[in-house]
Symmetry: C2
Subunit: 421 residues, 2 copies
């Protein structure tokens, strides 16, 4: 059938329902394409054949024990859970990401026949990569700009999150640059508020980094948070660019995925994609959008860096979820430039070997707040502990060997506990 071979999108869902699974799958496919159960006038067989979404596969999986979503109908005791793949004709929406979401997400979270509904993956046809440019710098461009040709890229976050005067920020950045970090980022809470406007932060930070570059030949990358109204993004970007900055940070869910795509078209700098507010659509196992689906849209929209969380993090995610997120970001996508996974939250040198063992790469941007700022011997030792641990892991050494060789890593364990094997 032509509908099978014509360009299409396959969306993968986890659903739960008290209806027969096949019936629930048809409800979902109908609601998100040609309509409802009631056939209306002008809805011909031809129209259905061409535009209807089709059930591609349906695989029952075990219930998790989580509560059914509010408002779901049917006897909870008869609930079953499935992994469902639906095929949507590209013709219905064209290679437009916002219009794609109307079909593969849209109203379906409101369907009362579903007691769980989560969009977990998307298979997209090449037409999306023809319309959307994707990352501009990726791993190679990021490494070049921060003069870190190999090894894990080690970064940190400005703390306290908010409230530092531009002068204090400049001091802090000077200390961190001297400590040897590759990358520094604004906290996502630091936007363009009156207490430290972006213009003043840029004016305070960039001369410090330029002086450091003059002395050492290396300019650490600083990701200025330019998150703001759409009409302010370009001017914010231009401010960073004009001052010699080498990265902009965008909170993807706060400007919206289309906001990311908007600034990508205008950016001359790598875009550090922060995922603040992602938990609101993803933490529930019963509802929302999973990281594998979301990150594809963020990458098409131009994120050079994308937060994945790290193992042993202080947030809710398990190591398995984090590792799957890192793997997802590293998988090729429609021939786009690569995106750098950003590991953060509770990271320190003692996690390097365990992370490397699972990911097999150093093409990672590893951010440590406390793991650097809170090292017993200061930030320089914090950076050294992380860099030495990652180099050891990448060289195939054991954690024990790393601890023998690196005094900074040994001292880190005194503050942060045993290194993970």
């Amino acid at each position: 059938m032509s509908t099978v071979t014509a360009p299409h999108v396959i969306a993968t869902y986890i659903i739960e329902t008290s209806l027969p699974l096949e019936h629930a799958a048809e409800v979902l496919a109908g609601e998100q394409s040609t309509g409802t159960f009631v056939r209306v006038e002008r809805e011909s067989d031809d129209l259905r054949a061409r535009f209807a979404a089709q059930v591609e596969s349906l695989e029952e999986i075990p219930l998790t024990g989580a509560s059914p979503l509010p408002g779901s109908v049917g006897d909870p005791a008869t609930r079953r859970r499935a992994r469902l793949r639906i095929r949507f004709p590209l013709e219905n929406f064209g290679p437009s990401l916002p219009n794609l979401l109307a079909a593969v997400a849209g109203n379906l979270f409101e369907i009362k026949q579903l007691s769980a509904i989560k969009l977990v993956d998307l298979d997209l046809p090449p037409a999306f990569a023809e319309r959307y440019a994707g990352p501009q710098f990726g791993v190679a461009g990021t490494r070049r700009l921060m003069s870190r040709p190999d090894g894990a890229m080690i970064g940190t976050i400005v703390k306290p999150s908010i409230g530092l005067s531009p002068a204090d920020l400049a001091d802090l950045v000077g200390d961190l640059a001297a400590a040897g970090v590759d990358f520094i980022k604004d906290d996502e809470l630091q936007g363009n508020g009156p207490q430290a406007p972006l213009r003043e932060r840029v004016a305070a930070v960039m001369p410090v980094l330029e002086r450091h570059a003059d002395r050492t030949g290396v300019k650490p990358m600083y990701a200025f948070n330019i998150t703001d109204d759409i009409d302010r993004l370009e001017a914010n970007h231009d401010l960073v660019l004009a001052a010699g900055g080498t990265c902009i940070m965008v909170c993807v869910n706060l400007v919206g995925l289309p906001g990311l795509e908007y600034i990508r078209r205008r950016s001359q700098l790598p875009i550090h994609g922060h995922r603040a507010m992602f938990g609101s659509i993803s933490r529930s196992e019963q509802l929302g959008i999973g990281f594998r689906a979301w990150q594809k849209i963020a990458r098409l929209s131009g994120a050079d860096h994308l937060h994945t969380n790290g193992i042993s993090n202080k947030f809710y995610e398990t190591d398995a979820q984090v590792l799957d997120a890192i793997a997802a970001v590293r998988e090729p996508l429609l021939g786009l430039e690569s995106t750098v996974p950003v590991l953060s939250s509770g990271q320190w040198g003692g996690l390097a070997h365990a992370t490397y063992a699972e990911t097999g790469t150093t093409d990672l941007l590893v951010l440590a707040g406390g793991g650097i700022h809170g090292h017993p011997d200061g930030a320089r030792a914090g950076v050294a502990s992380m860099r030495e641990a990652w180099a050891s892991a990448a060289a195939g050494e054991s954690v024990e060997t790393a601890l023998e060789r690196s005094a900074a890593l040994r001292r880190a364990t005194e503050a942060f506990g045993a290194a993970r094997v």
Copy 2:
């Protein structure tokens, strides 16, 4: 203390936690402002006093029985639920909606000490209304453009959702205009795909409406779905405007709230705000963002119309939720122009009295798909049944009187069941 009287935002949350409630509240306030439990260098007492978020109030409420969120820590048996109000200094983010969300939402959904976390309301200071213009047309502007000075505004949705050729669409719109609707909208699935590009839909629909206006003096409002990449929104709007169209539809969550704000600054037409994908952040009682909070941001961003769902709808929401949403949209907000609540999903004439009894207003846009297209005597009778029912309700008549007087409403009950009292 100056931090109390200085401009601030109060965010209201529902939380669940196995920690002592006061302690969990402090975790949340800390994560979303000056930082974490570990005090870092340069985090002075002054800085904390000025920038820290503060617990405004904390009220324990009953557990609902819903499962704790994945990854939450602590003994589930000790869980408690509370309504928590947190005060954030405006100075932290300024009156910027994207940066506001970093603070009041942001990473907090990921906090593992919380087994439920939902942002349910926001109290915003006047500075936001100085920066954001809000709706441009509201109730009065919408009524003027559709020549419907009083009574409920009756509208419908193009069905089938997708797949109609522009010629078939023109036929359908001609029939609906002749049937007397005030308003017609594209389905949210109908964007700008190759099967019926916006340009072709506008070219097909507007001459039909103009001819109808020439004959009757009334041009029904047609909301063309202009949802697309940000850079295409203005051109899409201009296409509608140039053809004499009187409304654009934007799927707020698909272009992003900042995308809505972007087109508001450029729009000369009322903006019909569709809430597709809202369920992904709101259906769970344990996670996400509630309608009261979300609709304030959508209204500041410029939505003239905003979907609230209707009573007896086919989706998951209860009547109580729907009525609270309608009430929320009708509450004054910082002196902004009004926004019209849009009732849809399963609506028909038999719901008019029950809806009016609860809302006390006809400043509503009531959309019926099946309730109009599916009336036994056709669309004209479908519109008549709704208009007569709403006029009766607003005149203080009983449902019984309405049924006696309106043949169209009586016939509607044969298709849709008994009218609600």
